[in-house]
């Protein structure tokens, strides 16, 4: 099934204890689409500036990603700079330049409107709803949000949430959105806002899936060398949606497998800076790590 992602395309500058990159391809839609591309056809809607060239687009095209929905605007591409703490658990934003992303008004090409799977990246909830209204009849609408929108546009976000089937956020966002510290209580409140399925990302502790009163707990993969956590959450979302789209089922067992595939893709992303690891994987490597997750968690 076709998967459409709407989100940011960016250049990032990242410093971690393992090195520093002055300028590299980034953005939520970038990580999402590369991760999803190993499972399903992917279409991207986003905006880039004059500085986003053929080399950047080639990263998408090498993975067969459809970039006809990437709009080019006069100006510079969204730029983010950040630095991670020694244990990679905290990060400080050093610079954010929205540039062409500031006036982003996502337009869904006619050929994209029949996409069965839609992922609404972390953008203004009003734009998220506007995107959804342009779609014909998606089978699954999933989305992300962040504290900035939870606190800054609560009414718009609540309206958008009514149309989202699967919300993919981190634990801090789930607590802020629900006003509940306990995640079972938070999930119940968020279900009542619309999303029947809630996925809570917990960074180095993995992810939780809440649906129909059942909980599934996926660990994070233990790695000896973590290099750069940037994009891990978006890669998780891409692997999750891609694996779901590939199998074409929304049954609980399919969701669980998809969460693990999401965790697999996130674990690869952090192994190198930016998209370096994510762009050149093989399906055999992905499936081998999926089996490693089973070995990590199963007991008789």
């Amino acid at each position: 099934m076709n998967t459409l992602v709407v989100g940011s395309l960016a250049f990032d500058a990242v410093k971690t204890p393992f090195g520093q990159v002055e300028r590299m391809l980034g953005g939520s839609a970038t990580y999402f689409s590369l991760a999803a591309s190993y499972f399903t056809p992917v279409r991207v809607v986003g905006v880039v500036g004059d500085d986003f060239g053929e080399a950047e687009l080639a990263v998408f095209h090498e993975r067969g990603i459809d970039t006809a929905g990437v709009e080019r605007a006069a100006g510079k591409t969204f730029f983010w700079a950040g630095e991670y703490s020694e244990n990679l658990n905290d990060r400080t934003t050093l610079d954010t330049q929205l540039n062409v992303f500031a006036d982003f008004q996502p337009k869904i090409p006619a050929a994209y409107r029949d996409s069965e799977f839609l992922f609404l990246g972390n953008i203004d909830p009003e734009l998220q709803r506007h995107v959804q209204q342009q779609m014909s009849a998606p089978v699954l609408v999933a989305g992300d949000t962040m504290n900035f929108w939870i606190q800054g546009k609560p009414q718009a976000l609540r309206q958008t949430l009514e149309g989202i089937h699967t919300l993919v956020i981190n634990d801090g966002e789930a607590r802020l959105l629900s006003g509940e510290y306990n995640l079972l209580a938070a999930a119940r409140k968020i279900h009542a806002m619309g999303p029947r399925t809630l996925i809570v990302k917990r960074g180095e502790y993995g992810a939780l899936l809440f649906q129909d009163g059942r909980v599934f707990c996926a660990p994070a993969f233990l790695l000896e060398t973590l290099c750069d956590p940037t994009g891990a959450g978006d890669s998780f979302a891409g692997g999750f949606m891609g694996a779901l789209a590939e199998c074409g089922s929304l049954e609980p067992a399919a969701l669980r497998r998809a969460i693990i595939y999401g965790s697999v893709m996130g674990s690869f992303t952090v192994e190198q800076f930016g998209v370096e690891r994510l762009r050149c994987l093989s399906r055999a490597e992905i499936d081998a790590r999926f089996r490693a997750f089973r070995d990590l968690t199963h007991f008789e």
Copy 2:
């Protein structure tokens, strides 16, 4: 198989957002032995003061725990007072009165020396080694330690670790002991100190088992009502050792099951203050939660 635990018997005063108890039965050996008692015969070595009466001993005897190794000394029983933060993740020690525990010199009764499973609770590493030397030939020696000993008696601790098969500590302790933040690297260094098996407790995020280059990740159970985290780690250790002793195997599959049983016992403990929940469980309740852990983690 018989399981012997050496550790503290105490009175605790605990304040959490859900209430306050001025004085309740506590101590690592108490939680450990109650948890283990659902699986295996348990023997306790510890010291109590004049204030530790029949009512306290009855809690052990109701669970069939052998307290012939509990020494009575003149003075008061070890007392600890603490207060937990709103989300229960942090605690502040308000008072520690070692009392009779300050001069504790564990003496293993002759009838206990053939115990197949030995758990060395979190006491001075020199005393831990002294206990071990009194045993005839235990099948499994497991133990706990803490930052106080890691920093205060590093040489004695290293000697003790050489005789410990299975070390059960939390993530902060594993990092301090090894000097490594990454837990895979930490496990490798700790294996080299002696313990072939390392179990790392991560509080609300569950536990990790490191053995022979393989890792097993057990989640914590998600509870809507957590009341008091005191003793959860010791209950985990008791459930783990008890389940292992019951099945009599040290194979990887048995260790994984035992880790889950440990997690089950820890999850019950936090539901009420002190040992209130732990002392009156049924094996059916325990096995039902074991199955719930499988539902929480398994995927096809």
